[in-house]
C-alpha cells in the first residue's frame, strides 16, 4: 500500500529491528524436541534397568512399582527400552532426513537451474522412482544393503530423495523466472553465485515444511520395516519395533502400544512446531510480524 506518508523516507524504526520474542508454539516445540534428545542421550549411557535383560517372572507387569512404565512380554523394562529406542529412532530419522534433503536439494537445484537434457534425463529417472511407494523401494534397497541401522538409513534416505528433488526443482523453476534472478545476472554475477545466493535461500520455506513431515514418515516407515522383520534387528529396541511387537498384546497390555505410540506422536508434534518456527525465523518477511 502506498500512502503518501510512507513515501517520505523515515529512518528505520527501532521496533522492526528488535528481535521478536519466541512464540509459545516455538517454545513448546523446542521443549519437546529437547526432552526427546535428552532422553536419547541419557538412554545411550544409562537406563533404569537393562533394556535387553529377559525376566519371565516379571512378564507383562502394568505401569507402577519399580517398573515405572511396566514390562513387556519378555519382562523387559518398558521405560529403559523407550529410552534406548529414542536414541536409535531419533538418530535414524535425523540421518535419513538429512540424507534425502541434502541429496534431493542438490539434484533438484541442478536440474531446475541447468534444465535441458540433464533435467530431462534426471527427472525421467526421478519420476520412475516416484512411481514406487517409498516403502517398497526401501524394501528392495534393504535386500541389497542388508538390514541394519545404516542400511535402513541409506534405504529410506534414497527412497525419499525423489520427492525432495521434485519439490526443490519446482521451486527453482518458479524462482528462476523472477526478476531478481535476472537482476543478479545483469549485475554480472556468475550462475553458481546466483544459485547459492538467490535461489537456494528462497527454497528454504518449502524444504522446512517437507523435512518436518518427512520425519514422521521415516519414523513410521522404520516401524513398518521392523514389523516386516527388516528393521533394526531384535533385541535392540526402536519405537517402531516396540510398537510392532506390542500388537499381539493389545488387549491384555494396552500400555505397551500406548507408550511408544505416544513417544512417536509427541516427537512429531515437537518437530513440526520447531520446523514452523525455524521457517519463520529464516524468512525476513515474517520478522516483526505480529
Amino acid at each position: 500500500m502506498n500512502t503518501p506518508a510512507m513515501n517520505t523516507p523515515t529512518p528505520a524504526s527501532a521496533a522492526t529491528r528488535k528481535r521478536r520474542r519466541l512464540a509459545p508454539n516455538a517454545l513448546l516445540g523446542m521443549l519437546i524436541v529437547g526432552l526427546v534428545v535428552l532422553a536419547a542421550l541419557i538412554g545411550t549411557f544409562w537406563t533404569p534397568f537393562d533394556p535387553l535383560k529377559i525376566n519371565f517372572a516379571m512378564r507383562l507387569k502394568g505401569p507402577g512399582g519399580p517398573y515405572l512404565l511396566g514390562t513387556d512380554e519378555f519382562g523387559r523394562d518398558e521405560l529403559s527400552r523407550l529410552m534406548l529406542g529414542a536414541s536409535s529412532s531419533v538418530w535414524i530419522s535425523l540421518l535419513t532426513v538429512s540424507f534425502s534433503v541434502i541429496v534431493g536439494t542438490a539434484i533438484g537445484v541442478l536440474t531446475g537451474f541447468v534444465r535441458g537434457w540433464t533435467d530431462r534425463i534426471i527427472m525421467a529417472f526421478n519420476n520412475a522412482l516416484l512411481a514406487f511407494p517409498g516403502l517398497l523401494l526401501a524394501l528392495g534397497l534393504l535386500a541389497v544393503v542388508g538390514a541394519n541401522k545404516y542400511g535402513i538409513i541409506l534405504a529410506l534416505g534414497l527412497a525419499y530423495t525423489p520427492s525432495v528433488t521434485r519439490i526443490v526443482r519446482g521451486t527453482v523453476l518458479s524462482l528462476r523466472e523472477k526478476e531478481f534472478i535476472e537482476s543478479s545476472r545483469v549485475l554480472g554475477n556468475s550462475e553458481l553465485y546466483t544459485m547459492f545466493r538467490h535461489v537456494l535461500p528462497n527454497c528454504v520455506a518449502p524444504l522446512t515444511v517437507l523435512a518436518t513431515s518427512m520425519f514422521g514418515w521415516v519414523i513410521l516407515a522404520e516401524s513398518a520395516l521392523s514389523f516386516l522383520g527388516l528393521g533394526v534387528p531384535p533385541p535392540a529396541p526402536t519405537w517402531g519395533n516396540m510398537l510392532a511387537s506390542a500388537r499381539p498384546f493389545m488387549a491384555q497390555a494396552t500400555y505397551l502400544s500406548i507408550f511408544p505410540g505416544l513417544c512417536i506422536a509427541l516427537t512429531l508434534l515437537g518437530i513440526n512446531l520447531l520446523g514452523d518456527a525455524v521457517r519463520d525465523r529464516l524468512d525476513p518477511r515474517m520478522r516483526g510480524a505480529r
Binding site: N2, P4, G188
Partner: protein, 546 residues
Amino acid sequence: MNTLLSVSGLSLTVGPGGREIVRDVSFEVGAGEMVGIVGESGSGKTQAARAVLGLTPPPLVRSSGSIMFEGVDLATADAATLRKLRGARIGMVFQEPMTSLNPSMPIGRQLDEGLALHRRDLTPGARKDRIIDMLARVGIADPQAALVAWPHEFSGGMRQRMMLASVMLLEPALLIADEPTTALDAVVQRDVLELMVALTRDHNTAVLMISHDLPMVARYTERMIVMQQGEVVEAGPTVDMLARPQHPYTRKLLASMPKRGLARAASSEAPLVSVKQLAIDYPGRQRLFSRTASKRALHGIDLIVHPREVVAVVGGSGSGKTTLGRTIAGLLKPSEGEILFRGRSIQKSNAGWRDYRLNCQMVFQDPYSSLDPRMSIGQLVGEGLRQIPDLSDADKRKRVDEVLEEVGLGSAYAPRYPHELSGGQRQRVAIARAIVRRPSFVIADEPVSALDVTVRAQVLALFAELQARHGFSCLFISHDLGVVEQVADRVVVMQQGRIVEEGLRDTIFDAPREAYTRQLLSAIPTLEPAGEGGVQLKWRFENGFA
C-alpha cells in the same frame, strides 16, 4: 436527474472497532450518469465501490453509513435481496480480463449464467438469441462460433469486451467498473472504453468507474470523486474540478501528470551502444522427435544510443520492446545481428563482454519481484560492487550509503528488507542497485508503470536528476506516452517486432509520419496545464484515430 445510488456516511473498518479503511464517504450517482472515483492505491476507492455490492473482503466490516439503491438500503439488506440485485440491477466489470472469465467454461455458457438466473421468463432459445446479438454488438467477429469457444482463445481486449457483454446482457441500472482497462494496451483501451460508453448509453445505465488514470476519468466521466486515505477530499463536476481544483491533494494529483521536458541538443558524439540488424527467434515447442517452427520476435533492429542520451522505446504489448531491452542487456542471445559497445562487438565469450557487463545495468518493471526478499537493502545494493575487486569493504559500505542517500532513502534504510518498503521506495532501491557501479548505460524496462501517479512523478524526477549528475545513457522502455514525452530525447516506435518510426521526441510527438504512431499517440488524451493549478483535456490528434 433522479438519484439512482446514494451512499452516505459510509465507513469500513478492519474487524469491528479496527482501523478505518474508508471513513465517512458520501456520494451519489444519478440514473445514466458516469461518475469516476479517483485515488492512489490504498485510498479505499475499490473497497468503497465494492461495499455497494456487499463484496468487501471478509475482515472489512461496515461500521456506519447507508447505501440506498432504488429505495433499498444495501448496507442492511439480507443476502437474498443482495443476490437478486447483483448482476440484474448492478453489474460489475473487473480489472483483470485474464482471470475474470472462468477458463474452464465456454463463452456461451458463461454469458448464459446471468441470464438463466435473473431472467426466468426467457426460453433457452431466446437467451441464446440475446447472447448472439450482444456478442455482435461488442464487436466479436463470429458470435455463433464464440459461443462454444474458450476464454483462452481470445486476447485481453476481446475478453474485456465479453466481460462487458455478460454484464450488459442483463441491462443493469448501474455498472461498477474497477480499473476496467488498466491491464490493456493504449489503443485497445480506447476501443473498450468507447464501447462501454456506447453500451451504457443504449440502456441508460449509470457507471461508477474506479481508476487511477486521470486522463481517462477526465475524458469519460461527468462527475468525479477524489479519494485519499479512505476519505473523499473533493467531489464535483469533472470539468470544474479539472479547471479549478480546490483541495491541495487534487492539485498535487493534477500536477503529477507528466509534462514534456525541455528539448536537449542532439548528441553528435560517437554512439555508446549501437545495435545492428538484431533479430531474435523464440524456439518452437519441443515435440518428441521434432520442433514446431520458431517464431521471430524481433526483425532486423537498428538502434543507436549516444552518450548521455535517453532513447525511449514505445509500442503496444507484443511489439517486442521488452525483448529488445532484454537482448541489449545480454539476457537473451541474439539469433542474428550484433551489439556494439563503444564500437566493439559484444559477445558472451569475448573480452569486451566483461567491460559491457559492468557498464550496462537494468532497472526492472516490477519492484516487488526484482529484489530478493531475503536480502537487506544494504546487501542488495552492495551486491553490485562484488565485481569490483579493488574496493575495500569500508569503501563499499561508504559507496552504498552514498547511493542510498542519492536516491533519497538514506543509509538508515540499509538494514531493512524489501517487504518493509512501499513500491516507490523499492523502485528507488532498484535504481540504487543499478547505478551503484556508476554504469554508462542503463536499460529501464517500464520502471514506473507499477507506481502510483504522485510516486511516479517523484521517481521520474529522481531519475532525471541522477541522469544529469552521472551522465549515463538510458534506453527507456515504456508503453506510457506521457512518461516518454517527459523523459526522452529520442523516441523509437515499435510494432510487431519491427521499428516503424524513429526520431527526435518533438518530431515524433508533433509530426509523426507513420499511421501507427498517430494511432498510438491519439489513443489516450493528455491533461495540459491551464493556469490556477488546473488542467485541460487535450487530444493529440483529433482525427488521428480514423
